[in-house]
Amino acid sequence: MSLLRLEGVTRTVELPDSEPLHILRGVDLEVEVGDHVSIVGRSGSGKSTLLNLLGLLDTPTGGSLQFDGVPLEKLNGAERDRRRGTDVGFIFQAFNLLGGRTALENVMTPLLYAPGKQFWRRERLATEMLDKVGLGNRLASMPEQLSGGEQQRVAIARALVRGPRLILADEPTGALDIDTGAAVMKLLDDVAENSGAALITITHDPNVAALARRHYRLDKGVLTPVDVNRVLTLAERGDTY
């Protein structure tokens, strides 16, 4: 069974004094457990909207979206929230670490919403996860005391600490230099592979997209598969989408 199945998904926004804005038009996508998918596209192509739908943060205005075989419309708001907490890990372009909290406290945050053992063992689990991303010695550091790469590693640890089956990375290297970005992507790829989670990377950087096994391009709300060679060519040229 697919982890995610999108069939003819559309997302339209009603505007007050204008024609409705069609952000996504008939998107079809199927993602299996352990998959690594990249979605590339220019700014304004609908990438973030698609990411929000995939992460159960938003609902489509048309088509169907199934998560783990369950149609999204069958889940109420709280159920969607809980499923998101259990099965989806987010990595944001701007890291979005919580200010005033240490690296350890940031990684512990998702575990505050976990029931049972995960909640009670949150400190140990968060420590282990930070250790896995190589920040075992920076537990007490505040976000502003960490470099960009370290902050993104904390964000990766936070996204993975509840053991999600789907990792959604929105421009994960967008705020990093090339070398740091490459290191972070390698780490993300490794951790995702080891955990068996599906990884969907949304990016405009062909170098990042090239790391995935399947590639899509989003243009004006339409999602189309892209040949890997095309991505590699763009990456070699140093072009962006």
Binding site: A78, D81, L98, R101, T109, A114, F119
Partner: protein, 408 residues
């Protein structure tokens, strides 16, 4: 399900505490207002309780402690009073029958007393030992009559301050004496002094009834007609009034009419005579608290708008709308409960401060302990203010669109 609720609750408290810890300066500043409001509320309620006790004691000194029954007997045709011995026996028997421990004769007479500067007429109130507690008689020196005073050959007298001064303010340890007139001159010992009000410029004293019975001439005794008083539980007052009236009348015969009345401050009206002071205190306290709450709501609303991105991030990690609502509420409640505890502590320190106490408890016999209800009202109000002040920000937090919040 239970485990989820429990972890959800603990998680919310953990979140709330972390939030308060991180924003401690802002929280501290916003809570000063609440702590001061709670301190004012608790302090006013506590001082109100002391003021109320003061007013109660004043009223009880004037008209006796509720329920105080006054018994009087007379002939409805001639207006004559019955034989004092028969009346006394009838009243005493009735008191014994209903096991009324606190009862007293109360009669007024005057005695010619020799002072160092000459003789004076001294207003004398003849009472039983129970009269003191029944009327909260205050003493500035010595102690009120006890049952054993009735057996003293040299009767005890309790004089007012004016009389004591006329006697030369002798120390009571020197057992100052006066000579009482009667069948034969009797030496009495001054055992206590009552404070005199500013308007009091005449000497007066209390004398026990059995001392009076021994020294007074028969003619004077019959002329000094007493009333009788009984202090009974308020809830039994109506029933006992009927029974005492019936029994005393029955004992004296059909020629006599016995009236039993209540004259204590609670007898005059069904309404609480202290209602005004209570309403005033409550009104002031509520006003103070509302001002504190308004300040907190204001700060909380501004704060939550600064936290929209953080709330969005939390939602992306699985925080349900209910959980966000509860966590924001908990932040407010946890903070105001802490402020409430501080406010109550401040109020206790202020109200129980010796200087304040000496000022507010003047003239009170039974100085109330710091009223526990004042502390509870303070804490409950702080919690309620926290919940109310948290409600609006919590609603704002729940309405946050996750997607917009993360991009905020």
């Amino acid at each position: 399900m239970l485990m989820r609720i429990w972890t959800g609750f603990v998680g919310s408290v953990v979140e709330a505490w972390a939030e308060l810890r991180i924003h401690r300066t802002r929280v501290l500043l916003s809570l000063i207002g609440v702590a001061v409001a709670v301190a004012a509320l608790t302090g006013i309620v506590a001082l109100g309780a002391i003021a109320q006790q003061s007013q109660i004691e004043t009223l009880e000194r004037q008209s006796g402690r509720p329920a105080l029954l006054n018994v009087s007997t007379f002939n409805p045709v001639t207006g004559e009073t019955p034989d004092i011995v028969e009346l006394d026996t009838a009243f005493q028997t009735t008191m014994d029958r209903y096991e009324i421990a606190f009862h007293s004769r109360n009669a007024y007479t005057s005695m010619i007393i020799q002072f160092p500067d000459g003789v004076r007429d001294v207003q004398t109130q003849v009472v039983d030992p129970a009269f003191g507690p029944m009327h909260r008689v205050r003493l500035s020196e010595g102690e009120w009559f006890t049952a054993s005073d009735a057996d003293r050959l040299a009767p005890s007298v309790i004089v007012n301050e004016v009389m004591w001064n006329l006697l030369g303010s002798p120390p009571l340890s020197s057992h100052p004496t006066i000579t009482l007139p009667g069948k034969q001159p009797t030496t009495a010992v001054v055992t206590a002094v009552t404070p005199s009000a500013q308007y009091e410029d005449y000497p007066s004293m209390f004398l026990l009834t059995n001392a009076w019975d021994r020294i007074a001439t028969e003619e004077l005794r019959q002329q000094t007609y007493p009333s009788y008083e009984a202090w009974v539980p308020i809830e039994l007052a109506d029933q006992l009034m009927t029974l005492i009236q019936r029994d005393v009348s029955g004992a004296l015969g059909t020629d006599w009419q016995t009236d039993v009345q209540r004259n204590d401050y609670l007898a005059y009206s069904d309404e609480d005579p202290l209602l005004f002071i209570k309403l005033l205190v409550t009104g002031v306290a509520v006003l103070i608290l509302l001002l504190g709450a308004l300040g907190l709501v204001n700060i909380s609303l501004v704060t939550v708008r600064h936290r929209i991105r953080e709330i969005g991030i939390r939602r992306s990690f699985g925080a349900t709308a209910g959980r966000v609502f509860f966590a924001v509420m908990m932040e407010s409640v946890v903070a105001t409960v802490v402020a409430g505890i501080a406010g109550v502590a401040i109020a206790v320190l202020v109200v129980k401060n010796p200087w304040v106490m000496s000022f507010v408890s003047q003239g009170i016999d039974d100085v109330p302990a710091f009223p526990i209800e004042a502390a509870l009202i303070g804490l409950a109000s702080a919690t309620a203010v926290g919940a109310l002040a948290g409600l609006l920000p919590a609603l704002v937090a729940v309405r946050v669109k996750v997607i917009d919040a993360i991009r905020y």
